[in-house]
């Protein structure tokens, strides 16, 4: 758990963080004794996940995975108890009591007091529940691995021959998407550097390894090159409940220029990035970069009146996005709210 809570840990992509969170919860559940599972799910797990969420306020992937895990636990226990107590119709089979935890606003899983069951039966039921939960969590973790495949399936449909595709910074998901399309199409990619992370060059070299002609340029040239672009492909940090996205600062330049040139913007994401938050402006969910960042090391202004303020994230409204490609299919921004019901 220390890995996730430590504020000085190295920056990892949301996908990796989400997978790690899920694995952590899986391990925690595996290690608890069957007798204590009820206690664990009701008290210890929410406490423990709250700590993680509190330590990573803007890492939506972690919060989302935790919510998803809770939802899974809820549904699997409910299903299990329904099937197991089908024969005992006198007992109430709806096993979940949902309590809203005011701090995280998420539903901790609870299992109704099984005092009505005898202790031996109870032990069996708890054993069964634990097994089911572990299985569904393992499926969830497997999904992370299958995610890229599912998303890249339709890559050749969207990218045509001789297209010029523009992308921002580095993303393994976008990289896999483009590589999958490159198997049957010849196209070019322009990579726009993410000034704050400086990862554009590594993205370029990775694409070049797969024989995709790549050009590297700076965010100042975004508007200039957009007149030649056919598509913009992005991977966000989080998908917001209104259909907009939060992604690295500078992405808004691409989407604004794309809209001005009528270039379609395709956003690729795994569903774990769906966040039930509504941002209203650029600073609702945002952070400023620390002045000790190596980016600013050469700057020194002679006056205390000068501030260096560089925001980390951009919020992009749903009107700037043409299409979402997720592992649950392709959707328009206006449909995103429906996915919440299915996912959480």
């Amino acid at each position: 758990m220390e890995k996730l809570v430590n504020p000085y840990r190295e920056k990892k992509s949301p996908t990796i963080l989400a997978k790690e969170t899920a694995e952590l919860i899986l391990k925690a559940i595996q290690e608890t004794d069957t007798k204590e599972i009820e206690q664990f799910l009701q008290k210890k797990l929410p406490e423990f996940t709250n700590k993680i969420i509190y330590a990573n306020p803007l890492e939506f992937a972690i919060e989302n995975t935790i919510k998803r895990v809770f939802a899974l636990i809820k549904t699997t226990t409910a299903d299990y108890l329904k099937t197991s107590s089908a024969s005992q119709s006198t007992k109430k089979s709806l096993a979940e009591m949902v309590q809203r935890d005011p701090e995280t606003n998420s539903d901790p899983p609870t299992i109704e007091r099984l005092d009505s069951y005898e202790s031996a039966e109870r032990e069996n039921i708890l054993h069964g529940i634990k097994r089911e939960i572990l299985e569904s969590l393992e499926n969830l973790i497997d999904d992370f691995d299958k995610m890229t495949e599912k998303i890249s399936e339709n890559a050749p449909t969207h990218i045509k021959s001789n297209d010029i595709v523009v992308t921002y910074g580095e993303s393994t998901l976008v990289q896999d998407f483009l590589v999958s399309a490159a198997k049957s199409r010849k196209f070019e990619v322009i990579v726009i550097e993410d000034e704050l992370c400086k990862v554009g060059k590594s993205m370029c070299s990775k694409l070049e390894e797969h024989n995709i002609p790549t050009t590297f340029t700076l965010p100042t040239a975004t508007y200039a090159i957009m007149s030649r672009a056919n598509k913009v492909i992005l991977s966000p940090n989080a998908i917001m409940a209104d259909g907009g996205i939060i992604s690295n600062s500078g992405t808004l330049l691409l989407t604004a220029a794309a809209k001005a040139h009528s270039v379609p913007v395709i956003v690729i994401a795994g569903l774990f990035k769906l966040t039930s938050n509504f941002p209203f402006s650029q600073d609702t969910f945002n952070e400023i970069k620390s002045p000790t960042d190596p980016l600013f090391v050469e700057l020194s202004f002679p006056s205390p009146l000068t501030n260096v303020i560089v925001p980390k994230y951009d919020y992009i409204e749903p009107e700037y996005i043409s299409l979402y490609i997720t592992d649950a299919g392709e959707h328009t921004p206006s449909y995103i709210y429906r996915l919440f019901r299915e996912y959480y």
Binding site: K201, T220, G250, L252, L253, P302, N307, V308, I309
Partner: protein, 306 residues
């Protein structure tokens, strides 16, 4: 080739002199010096100076493309040599030297004074002004303004010209310095956007440092007025619809580490379309970008009658 010209060529090639006004000034001052130092026969002076001009222009073009303002002025200069009296002799050097001096004085120095005078009225107390990169006129304007305002300087990689501007204005104006990625974060709070120009085209488009089009696009998104400060000598009869049909490429190695094999594009300029620009401030007044061809016509008419 005169050593001053070689020196100038080096400076232009190595980005030691940047900014359209600075380059124009440097080129014309050096040219004037060379013309004044001409020691040839007075009989063939017209032809010799004409040839000298052409050689110098060709050499400087190999170092770096000259701005459109300079090119059109040098064309006029050549025309005036052609039209001048055959018997003028060494008086031609004086005539040309005076002409260049007048151009610098009227079209650059006095023009800037007037632009700043016009521009000072546009700044109000408690304004938040956003500017991009480093423009000589904008910097002077902000320095001479006595009102209380806040400045946001957006910087441009890879040459980071905004830093220079921030360093010079830091002591007297509260500044927020940021990268271009963060522009949208600040745009909401901004009242006006001040931009400098490399040239303005007859279709009202602005050619300026790469990144300016992006800033104007975002300003347009947030409905903020974009004001361009441009001397009339920078107006050009050309028209262009996008940034890529005609542009300058700077050294791509500036974007890469040594040893990187990626293809990089380092554009110098970009084109801001007419509808993103609200007003152009020139020495002749405040005009909309659509009036640029009108202004050009008036100026050539005035020049023709002189």
């Amino acid at each position: 080739m005169h050593p001053d010209i070689i020196c100038l060529g080096h400076k232009l090639r190595n980005n030691q002199i940047t900014g359209t006004n600075a380059r124009c000034f440097a080129i014309l001052i050096t040219l004037r010096k060379i013309i004044e130092e001409y020691r040839g026969s007075p009989e063939t002076i017209n032809k010799n100076i004409s040839v000298l001009l052409d050689e110098v222009r060709a050499y400087l073009r190999t170092a770096r493309k000259l701005g459109s303002g300079v090119e059109s002025y040098l064309d006029n200069l050549k025309l005036s040599i052609f039209n001048s009296n055959r018997d003028i002799g060494l008086g031609l050097t004086k005539k040309l030297s005076d002409d260049i001096g007048d151009f610098i004085d009227q079209k650059i120095r006095k023009a800037d004074d007037l632009i700043i005078k016009n521009g000072l009225e546009l700044i109000n107390d408690d304004d938040v002004i956003l500017t991009f990169g480093r423009s000589y006129v904008v910097e002077r304007l902000l320095r001479e303004c006595k009102k209380k305002f806040h400045l946001i300087i957006v910087d441009n990689p890879p040459y980071y010209e905004g830093r220079q501007m921030a360093l010079r204005l830091a002591r007297q104006i509260p500044i927020t310095y940021t990268c271009i990625s963060g522009v949208a974060y600040f745009m909401r709070k901004v009242q006006k956007v001040f931009l400098g120009a490399s040239s303005m085209l007859s279709n009202g488009a602005l050619i300026s440092r790469v990144g300016t089009a992006m800033i104007s696009c975002i300003a347009h998104m947030y409905r903020k007025p974009v004001l361009v400060f441009c001397e009339t000598y920078k107006f050009s009869e050309k028209t262009q619809l996008d940034s890529l049909s005609e542009n300058e490429l700077a050294d791509p190695q500036a974007l890469l580490e040594p040893g990187d094999k990626t293809t990089a594009i380092n554009l110098r300029y970009d084109l801001t379309p007419r509808n993103y620009i609200n007003m152009v401030i020139t020495e002749t007044g405040l005009i909309p970008p659509t009036s640029i061809p009108v202004m050009l016509r008036e100026l050539t008419r005035i020049q023709g009658t002189n």
